[in-house]
Symmetry: C2
Subunit: 467 residues, 2 copies
Amino acid sequence: MPYNKITTNHLDQLKSLNPRLEISNLKEDIQNASHDETEDFNYPPEAVIFAKSTKEVSQVLSFAYENNIPVTPRGAGTGLSGGALAVCGGIVLSLTKLNKIIEIDEDNLFAVVEPGVITQNFQEAVEKIGLFYPPDPASKGSCTLGGNLAECSGGPRALKYGVTKDYIYGVEAVLPNGDIIQTGGKLLKNVTGYNLTQLLLGSEGTLGVITKITIKLLPLPKHKQTLIIPFGSLEAAAKMVPIAFKNGLTPCAMEIMEKEAVQCASEHLGKSFPNATAEAQLLVELDGNDLGVIEKDLEKITELAMNHEALDVLIADTSAKEKEIWSIRRACGEAAKKDAYYKELDTVVPRASLPKLISGVKKICQKHQVTSICYGHAGDGNVHVNLLKSGLSDEKWQKELPIVTQEVFELTVSLGGTLSGEHGIGWLQKEFLPIAMDKLVIDAQRKIKSAWDPKNTLNPMKIFPTQ
Amino acid sequence: MPYNKITTNHLDQLKSLNPRLEISNLKEDIQNASHDETEDFNYPPEAVIFAKSTKEVSQVLSFAYENNIPVTPRGAGTGLSGGALAVCGGIVLSLTKLNKIIEIDEDNLFAVVEPGVITQNFQEAVEKIGLFYPPDPASKGSCTLGGNLAECSGGPRALKYGVTKDYIYGVEAVLPNGDIIQTGGKLLKNVTGYNLTQLLLGSEGTLGVITKITIKLLPLPKHKQTLIIPFGSLEAAAKMVPIAFKNGLTPCAMEIMEKEAVQCASEHLGKSFPNATAEAQLLVELDGNDLGVIEKDLEKITELAMNHEALDVLIADTSAKEKEIWSIRRACGEAAKKDAYYKELDTVVPRASLPKLISGVKKICQKHQVTSICYGHAGDGNVHVNLLKSGLSDEKWQKELPIVTQEVFELTVSLGGTLSGEHGIGWLQKEFLPIAMDKLVIDAQRKIKSAWDPKNTLNPMKIFPTQ
């Protein structure tokens, strides 16, 4: 469906609808909104609107719906699948100014927040009073909770504590036509109608714009301990992962990094990583309320690792060292992408298939002479494969990239996996979706999208392949 | 939309489509399928079909869809909201013969099962190899996993471990038109398209018939300990619940029972309950892998309880005693309903509002002279309110019941709660749904239902109020 371009008449109408609406076509705002952290895309919207209330979100969506103008909702723009790109032009609706922590309810262990709150700010606010919000995407210092909900973000601690969706018990959302709905609440159990909360989570801003979030909190674990376990090969590190779980351990995080990832992240930050020359590292975090239990688990994992090809087991013995180690892990993505051209795949497989995935990816990349750097959430079977242009000619890179991507995804799916564990499909991977899903499943989803957004004005051209 | 009655011609067509299809119009099968555990409803279907494969489910649904015949999917018929009642006649599609445990994958801590597996049988199968499937509805000995998914069942352990939806990572389902879809997989993280798995869970068989289930398993906790804490009033018991959580305890279960519930369940089973004359009891289960930690928590909860009006704290010191105590808790529902006429409400509120809910319910019941028995999952804020006809005249009961129900639900919603925590809305509560949800939210759900089931042949007249 061809969309309408935004005219000054449209803008005048919007302003008369709500004179306080913050509409910008400043070059700087347009430019900021034209890209996210996904490769080198650039899609300038025609206008950026900064919403400051649910009512404003509703006004914008219903106006755009009536006038057939595409709207792309946007948090901090840290997404890795192009979900926040205004690929059809129109309006970018920024939620960054809707950023209040409305309530932290200590009696019920729930919080209510607006979508523009920075994830780490929220975590620090609840930790200050002994509570805990586990999801910790690498971008937590800059990403927003609304964006985390849209992409159902994870992070290292998802291993023990689950991903964003596991903490969201209700939302207020504005549907594509401007209708405002409330779902769920501070309720640990709820079978009252369809689970619209979970339908909206991970729908990448295509079904509604979330304007208020009810978040379950946990008591903050009293203790944690970080271990670094170097291995002689990436495969050996990957093999250790299911072994830990089969032996009854439930670490809080279990991350894998190959040598190149560690080295480029260390260099990028100017920090050193112990045993950095080892081919691969596992980064393990144990947490809990009882120091004795953590120490027992630490002994057990050390023994298991040393019996399964670990080169060493190192303990981050100070909080400073621990922070440094984790900052290096978190910088892997940014560091790997310093090289101007790259593509990041967010493959996920059943945990025990991780060694097969990693060795298969390396073989595919070698066959096509494409450099790859792998790291990620090994305990969840979720590996970020960064394909780098490095020394390849433009022509060779253009030719090989889609082939390598296709082969990696086919391998992933053949191992029982799928295309994205925590980044989403968005704009980047949508043409690959049929590798993971047959037509009937895609059709079932399109029917929901059409039922709520028959004019397809909310975040169009995302998730589903071009028909 | 008026549905077609089933003719011999329809049955002949179905048989020629698949000669092995098990179609019954035996009086016994029709009678069994005409009711569930919800009050005294009786809706005989025109035929019962026992599905033995996904293909058969698809054949039946697509035939019914084409021929405008309603289909009501059914597990063991233990539901408490009338979800499995064939209120429009037509076909009851029984899933009880689709009952294989297909796989228990110890490497990935996942199982794949068919929907007709009895919940307790599945739990015992995984516990035998040291694994754990926590959801434990009171009917676990007879209900099916498919039914648990349809209603997103909970049970006592939901408090620490979450409800059914928290363990389901993928399904195979047949949509109303017969389309077979696969969602999710043995994947701990997955943001690849909409979360259709979670949309189907708790949709009470109105959006699809689940034919295969991918279930996440946990390692079986090594130790558990049951405590019984009698109180001098129901309110005092209710007040203890948020206190435990505010003090950092995370019991596996925290159940509340008023005296009448304990007494009628004890009588019903012919078993005794300690301190049965106390006005209310909390039943607390602690579990974990470290006996020392459990003992510390036990001491802490004992101290807290004794400081907050507990009459005593008793420990179930043998496994036999523990089983007996839990069997009495589980029998509350059945025992309360021996009295021929009753209505069970499945109220749920934020945990800290539990004392207000319970005292409010008692006041409403006293005002209308209706007997009530309350028990349930206090830790989750989920209380089952059983309204009993007892000595009331038919006329008084008919008059007061809808008023009491309405008032209890209005109170629940005013406390931030909703109509059902784990039983579903189904046929029983649908006219009350607008108390908890405004028109826009209900419309948003109807749009999804219409998008997938435009002819409304799959489990019609459930969840949503009559228009």
